[in-house]
Symmetry: C2
Subunit: 520 residues, 2 copies
């Protein structure tokens, strides 16, 4: 079609080049302008067919329809789709703790309870939704044995361990890498390395050499008994197991692909090479120094190991006085007084309780998880100004703050996550603790229903209520957060039949397709 | 430019024909689709210049910047731009009362206090902003006399009226239109007819014949002492002065153009002819029956006559028990229980008080206006459920309801209008009444500031808070109401220096130009 060029004056402020079809009395506006002006998405589809289409998407975020009633023992939301480790703001998975370290608000890295819980819940969920992993047992001292390559100056023997009632491998190597005992491999795809390890001297280590089959570049991962998070020297990537790992048996679970990728990123932040998981090949596994090992496996996944590493972290890193899992970073939300390191988050508490409730049930009743979860309820009853997470809207409705700001910020998604933790504990705990959690849950759901419409803008949702607390512009939820709101309500609708929840979820879902509320 | 056609799939729901410039990697979207999808406006400008432009207007509503500090004795908002009489929902201006009759929610027509007040305030404001009118005195019995055409069977004499200390014309005509005394005119433009009139018999009348110079069609307006609002028979348009007009001197002010146009509309609702004001010609003025008249004038405008007609209406139509001006219609707001006829509106109270405060001041202190205004404060202190207009948000903030629904609806623009009435009375009344009004005003402003952000959607405003009261979709303010919100805040900012008001006004103004709030 031949169209005429026409200048379009936008609100008398600036011009945009448009096209005009005079005969059809139509003007055409460039999508590059609309994209920014309205925050919509669109792209020409390059599918195989001859005819190109333009796909206008009001929002690119996805709604996840629940598959059934929410179950505290089952998948958490749709976290089987989460991949926490690959996020840029995850510096690495700590080899000392087996949980992610965040750099979101502090470059040096810190343990962020919310992130650790998401890591745990995603692996718990994947364990339920993914097929069982392939498990290749390399060496267990018994039925599965490898022919270890042992230099003359080094030695290894399989010995009986009375306490564990199993055979383990004892090794002793001469100083220097050439002394390492090792096994050569050409192993791909199943990159979850699992080993029971005891290192005796601080120069002992576990080493894994991998290669990028695409570039032929190889890297060596060193797991060392030092208080070091992650360090890189040329192609050597060092993960610290912690000084306290010395002389203690440790069950270590490492995703070799993640370990290598995070090392590469640390080594070259500006343009780190990305290795495709399918391109990573394990070339060798080796041991240096003095120690013992058993049960070396390479698996497609090892979800529950990650899950329990996190559950243990929660048990051992809770403030016994407050029941909180502290966020050891400063956090500044625009307009609010800074939160000082040590602040507690209702979302962190809730997520952590969701982990511990599942751990308590899945482990067949390990009380340590139950006690930690129950203690985690405390901050729900303490006001933000007193170090807890409790706020009260209009002196009426109790709220559990994702960020315990002054004045309160009332972040919606964090609050709902904090409720799910209460629900999970109420579903899995014995009566007394269940009742405590249940009371807090009921109180929270009451507030949620009373306050839910405060977040409705008629074409989206707001992320929090800072506009009410501070008298400033609403903090509109970007589409992925808006989708989270929808997904959360859809989940809640499976456990609470109040039509308000389902109706609001439907309307908020419609907003993602451009179905605005009517005007008067 | 040659562009390719491309189908655009909108949210995978339906298709829109777009254009594509493959080389520039751009897709063009038809404005006819965008107009509806986003509620924006746009048109090709057909100005004299050769180059056509497309004018995209996020909103077609206008912002009115205040010219200075708001003055209770001055113009009301920007009501000098209002033309209440021409609205389709104004059936006519009552000849008995001199105020508009509404058909907005009841086809038979009723007196709507809010509308009467807007009529009054617009004329008061125009009186301040428009040039002084041309006034043509046709007959005053003294210095200005016309040579009345008097049929043989009829007679007219100028006589001295002792009480009024002026000469008036006495007339007596034979039955039948041919007996009318009259004057032939070729008068245009100044179409406000003013006359002091006393009619003795119920077959007496004032008649004005006008002509549409465009179509040559003529009409006769009959002002009769009957309880009739408006009636049409062929080209005869009858306005009732009220049965109580008999034997009483009445100062009548009629906009002849409005009177004819409303009569035409009544006569042919489906396709009423529109007469341009500039096409209306007064052909004759005549009198029938038995009576007296004086001070016949034709003016460009007669704003203060309309204003005082309305002020008198408020004095004589107030419920002495409640202080309210009742709305004698049923009013159903979607989702709320119906308001039964007789409901009081805070907007109506406020607007009426704005009229009366100005009338009190402008008249040099006529206490009847002051007493009516003071009595009009009562409903502000009575809860909606008890027949007043008071509501309380979250048991905290007092609100004055435009529509006193259950549960409350919290309409924003009506509340602010109700505050302006309080401000006006506080500014013009003596201390005791001023203090009463001031307390209600202070209380209302406190609520307004606390609740203002509840209406902010991040890209517009909501009209009310029904989403909070009823748990339903927000009732978004269409652009002209949103502009009213902006204009009201701009006015309030001239009398209250709290930065919240000015900042919110600026942001809400920005929304009208597509400047949405940021997302997180
Ligand atoms: Ca073994
Ligand atoms: Ca006279």
């Amino acid at each position: 079609t031949v169209l005429q060029d026409i200048e379009c004056s936008i609100n008398q402020e600036y011009s945009v080049h448009c096209k005009r079809d005079e005969n059809a009395n139509e003007v055409y506006v460039p999508f590059s302008f609309l994209r920014n002006y309205f925050d919509v998405s669109g792209a020409v589809s390059t599918s195989g067919s001859e005819v190109a289409r333009f796909n206008w998407m009001h929002s690119t975020a996805k709604v996840n329809l629940p598959k059934g009633k929410y179950d505290a023992r089952g998948v958490f939301m749709y976290f089987e789709n989460y991949n926490v480790e690959v996020r840029d703001r995850v510096k690495c998975i700590s080899a000392a703790e087996g949980v992610p370290v965040s750099t979101q608000w502090e470059k040096r890295g810190y343990f962020y309870p919310t992130q650790i819980a998401q890591f745990a819940l995603s692996h718990y969920s994947k364990n339920l939704t993914e097929p069982a992993p392939r498990v290749r047992v390399l060496e267990d001292g018994d039925g599965n044995q490898i022919d270890w390559s042992t230099p003359k100056t080094s030695n290894m023997t399989r010995i009986w361990h009375h306490k564990f009632n199993t055979s383990v491998v004892q090794f002793e190597t001469a100083p220097g890498y050439e002394g390492a005992i090792s096994i050569a491999l050409n192993h791909t795809l199943d990159l979850l390395l699992s080993v029971d390890l005891l290192l005796v001297t601080n120069s002992s280590s576990l080493m894994v050499t991998v290669q990028n089959r695409d570039t032929r570049h190889s890297y060596t991962l060193h797991y060392i008994p030092a208080d070091l998070l992650l360090s890189v020297q040329d192609s050597n990537i060092y993960y610290g197991l912690g000084g306290s790992a010395l002389n203690k048996w440790r069950h270590i679970t490492r995703d070799l692909h993640i370990d290598v990728q995070k090392g590469i990123v640390l080594g070259d932040k500006r343009s780190p090479l990305k290795i495709r998981r399918s391109d990573l090949e394990v070339l060798s596994i080796g041991f240096l120094g003095l120690g013992f090992y058993d049960n070396i496996t390479l698996s497609t996944s090892d979800h529950m190991a990650h899950f329990y590493d996190a559950a243990e972290w929660f048990v051992h890193n809770q403030d016994p006085k407050t029941g909180g899992w502290a966020n050891p970073v400063r956090r500044s939300l625009n307009g609010f007084a800074e939160l000082r390191p040590g602040w507690i988050s209702a979302m962190g508490q809730g997520h952590s309780i969701s982990v511990l409730a599942r751990a308590y049930w899945h482990s067949g009743g390990d009380e340590r998880y139950l006690r930690a979860a129950a203690a985690g309820l405390q901050p729900y009853r303490v006001y933000s100004r007193d170090g807890g997470v409790l706020a009260q809207f209009m002196d009426k409705f109790y709220w559990y703050e994702e960020y315990p700001t002054t004045p309160p910020s009332y972040v919606l998604n964090g609050f709902i996550y904090s409720l799910l933790g209460l629900y999970d504990l109420n579903s899995t705990a014995p009566v007394k603790i269940a009742r405590e959690a249940g009371k807090l849950f009921t109180q929270g759901m009451y507030s949620l229903k009373k306050m839910l419409l405060l977040y409705d803008t008629g074409s989206g949702t707001s992320y929090d209520l800072r506009h009410l607390s501070l008298g400033v512009a609403p903090n509109l939820a970007r589409w992925d957060y808006h989708a989270t709101h929808v997904n959360q309500l859809l989940l809640l609708a499976t456990i609470d039949s109040d039509p308000l929840i389902a109706q609001t979820a439907e309307r908020w879902k419609g907003y993602m397709f451009g179905k605005r509320a009517k005007h008067n």
